[in-house]
């Protein structure tokens, strides 16, 4: 945050007013990618068995989302409509390949844990969805902020789910023992279906707290 405001002081084009702040905070609550927009569920389910893996995943998604939004927003006036999907996918795929190679070099154990799911960021609907819905119609700076906001909104849910699953599934948090020997790890929490239950319950809590989001149909 401090970096962003520093840039804003220097350059007026990178204004950081109320509107821009809303771009960052909206995806955290009213327009959360996972619990409201239903985007990016697959990776949210698969990587959330451990907090450290989901932390890395969240950072990767923030990076890919922000920079693909920036690139597509810069190119938005020169992309023909008929090939826009392929252009978008190439931009995303390039960024994801960068993330994959960097992670492979920096932290190989987490890389093997995340395996195909780093690759699947390409098809993470958050990235593509934000490109279609926001970057194709807005300027680079706003799109960049929107990418960061949505990435963080996704990351928060990811880490919340991972914290619950790791705590009850293994009795640990970030690989540190929290629950003592008296706790028998609940094997179900490590398996996929529990991610569904945890996210379902998170949606329940979120919507009872923010009642505007309730499905009326």
């Amino acid at each position: 945050m401090s970096e962003i405001t520093k840039v804003a002081e220097k350059e007026p084009t990178f204004a950081f007013g109320k509107k821009e702040r809303k771009l960052l905070t909206d995806p955290l609550n009213d327009n959360n990618p996972i619990t409201v927009q239903v985007l990016g569920i697959c990776s949210a389910l698969a990587v959330t068995t451990k907090v450290d893996a989901s932390f890395v995943m969240a950072i990767a998604v923030v990076f890919v989302c922000a920079f693909s939004n920036l690139i597509i927003s810069l190119l938005r006036n020169s992309i023909p409509k008929s090939v826009r999907m392929i252009v978008q996918l190439v931009a995303i795929a390039t960024l994801v390949t960068i993330v994959e190679l960097v992670l492979k070099a920096a932290n190989y154990t987490v890389f093997t844990e995340l395996s195909v799911f780093i690759g699947l960021i390409i098809t993470n609907c958050i990235v593509m969805g934000r490109l279609e819905a926001f970057a194709m119609a807005n300027g680079p700076w706003k799109s960049f902020l929107d990418g960061i906001g949505n990435g963080i909104g996704y990351g928060i849910i990811l880490i919340a789910v991972a914290a619950i699953r790791e705590l009850f599934g293994k009795g640990t948090f970030y690989n540190i023992q929290i629950l003592g020997d008296w706790y028998t790890p609940n094997g179900l929490m490590v398996l996929f279906p529990s991610a569904m239950f945890v996210i379902g319950i998170l949606i329940w809590i979120h919507r009872s707290w923010n009642r505007d989001l309730i499905d009326v149909s």
């Binding site: 190439v90 994959e100 996929f192 919507r207 309730i214």
Partner: protein
């Protein structure tokens, strides 16, 4: 040989179901499963695209990207970009062919065809196929089986969601929340298939 292909088909359709065992393609699975009719169209399109892209991606990864391939150098870092390009162009091609030869099917599928590009079950299937080191015909069986399993899963959830509209679900849980809980339960049911060895039949 044939029985082995059948094994892979059954294994990828039921035991390693892309939707309910690996939870791939969840976004469109949750977003499009409000009625059985649309779920049916999307499911068919997924079978079709998986069945086509899987052998094409097999050829690419074995003859272009592998060290023993045409270029003689290890190009696996290009895998993601090429796979996704194949999928995007295949979806575009399928869309054009369907539009030309069967306008009625095209109209009933509507926007679901382009949506398949970002269905992670397709790309995930291709990446699984590489990591499992299938041969060419096995990759076709894996693609068709995976697509069929995904088709069954989306029809099942859509049917349940149609019926659950008549139940008194708590307000905040209505719609999306309930779909999550249902999918979790279905996933647990599918987990009980995991111990089955299709070779035993």
């Amino acid at each position: 040989m044939e029985s082995q292909l059948l094994n892979i088909f059954i294994k990828s359709a039921f035991i390693e179901n892309l939707a309910l065992a690996y939870f791939l393609g969840m976004c469109s699975y949750l977003a499009v499963s409000k009625t059985v009719k649309t779920a049916f169209g999307l499911g068919l399109a997924v079978i079709f695209v998986l069945g086509i892209t899987m052998p094409i991606n097999w050829i690419i990864s074995n003859y272009l990207l592998a060290e023993t391939g045409v270029f003689g150098i290890d190009l696996t870092f290009l895998r993601l970009i090429l796979f996704i390009a194949v999928i995007a162009s295949m979806v575009q091609l399928v869309e054009m062919v369907v539009e030309k030869f069967s306008p009625s099917l095209y109209n009933s599928l509507g926007i679901f065809l382009p949506l398949i590009t970002v269905n992670c079950a397709i790309l995930g299937g291709s990446l699984f196929m590489v990591s499992k080191e299938y041969n060419f015909s096995e990759s076709i069986a894996f693609g068709l089986g995976g697509g069929f399993g995904w088709f069954l899963a989306i029809i099942a959830i859509a049917a349940i969601r149609e019926k659950i509209q008549y139940s008194a679900v708590p307000g905040p849980l209505r719609g999306l929340g309930m779909a999550f809980l249902l999918t979790g339960l279905m996933g647990m049911a599918f987990m009980s298939l995991m111990g089955i060895d299709p070779a035993a039949f």
